[in-house]
């Protein structure tokens, strides 16, 4: 039940993530991006922030950090890998998740609670959540607008790899009113095997009622439940 929380220059949500995971009983260690080995860890989280200053494109430099080789190997081996916000962008740039995240439709930084709907429970991010559940979780990003060529979008949809969609409080999905213009209102998705997940909203910032919502716990609990040593 050991989780590595990858820290790049510019990462800024690592303590929030480790605090939330520790609260759920996991051992979560901060691991610097230059680390070459993740031996002994059962899963990895890439938290939010601005890895390497987001220069060039979000995640473009981070994908070449030494730790990414080992994260790629763990992903290929079926270990749970979760990218939150900037971590999602890094996983897309690394080719571990499809598509890319571009500027929000209205070209505005969005920092508010949004509603997201759990599409299914067959993933590392949702296995402990009820399909159809509406979660209220903060979104905090400028480049949260997921896009991909049409054939990639079709692959993701046909493969049931969308695990979270932006919706209203009642769970209705309306692409025109999605907060950032993300294709098909996609807020979170997984790779083909279901063990690598990315989402733009921050579950760790909704991990305690004192923060205004504890809805993110369902997602973090799912991630930990997917770690083999825990199950």
């Amino acid at each position: 039940m050991k989780v590595a929380v990858a820290v790049f220059p510019g990462t800024n949500c690592e303590h929030d993530v480790t605090h939330a995971l520790a609260g759920l009983g996991a051992t979560a260690d901060l691991v610097w991006h230059r680390e070459m080995s993740l031996a002994g860890y059962d899963g990895v989280v890439i938290p939010g922030g601005f890895a390497h200053g987001d220069y060039l494109r979000t995640g473009a430099i981070a994908r070449f950090s030494p730790i990414m080789t080992e994260i790629g190997a763990m992903a290929a081996a079926g270990a749970p890998v979760l990218g939150i916000c900037n971590g999602f962008q890094v996983l897309c740039e690394a080719g571990l998740l499809p598509g890319a995240l571009i500027a929000n439709r209205e070209l505005a930084f969005i920092c508010r609670h949004v509603h997201i709907r759990v599409e299914h429970a067959d993933s590392v991010l949702t296995c402990d959540a009820e399909p159809g559940t509406v979660l209220r979780i903060p979104l905090n990003s400028y480049e949260g607008n997921w896009v991909a060529p049409a054939d990639h979008v079709a692959e993701v949809e046909d493969g049931h790899r969308v695990v979270l969609r932006y919706c209203d409080a009642a769970g209705n999905v309306d692409h025109a009113s999605s907060p950032n213009g993300s294709t098909n209102s996609i807020a979170g998705l997984v790779n083909d095997a279901g063990n690598v997940a990315g989402l733009m909203p921050h579950p760790e910032r909704a991990s305690d009622p004192a923060l205004g919502s504890a809805d993110g716990l369902a997602l973090l609990r799912s991630f930990l439940a997917a770690v083999p040593a825990l199950s």
């Binding site: 060039l56 494109r57 473009a60 430099i61 070449f64 897309c92 740039e93 499809p98 598509g99 890319a100 571009i102 500027a103 929000n104 439709r105 209205e106 070209l107 607008n145 896009v147 991909a148 060529p149 049409a150 990639h152 213009g181 294709t183």
Partner: protein, 82 residues
Amino acid sequence: MRFRVDIRRREGLSDPEGVTTRRALRDLGYDAVADVHFGRTIYLDLDLDADDPDAATADVAEMCERLLANPVIEDYDIEVVG
């Protein structure tokens, strides 16, 4: 040798900056503006032992594929400019 790399969002994919700028231009009365596409231009200066533009251009293309562009959503052109 100086290379100019032009990187732009692939046609058909959403370009929020382009859409917003088109709207602004049309609000100013430029009704002929049908579409606006944003891109990025990068100049690269390479120190080369031999003057072999083809090999160097191939290297720049590799740099584009690996880092400078996101081949999932972007296209690029490479030009020797000096």
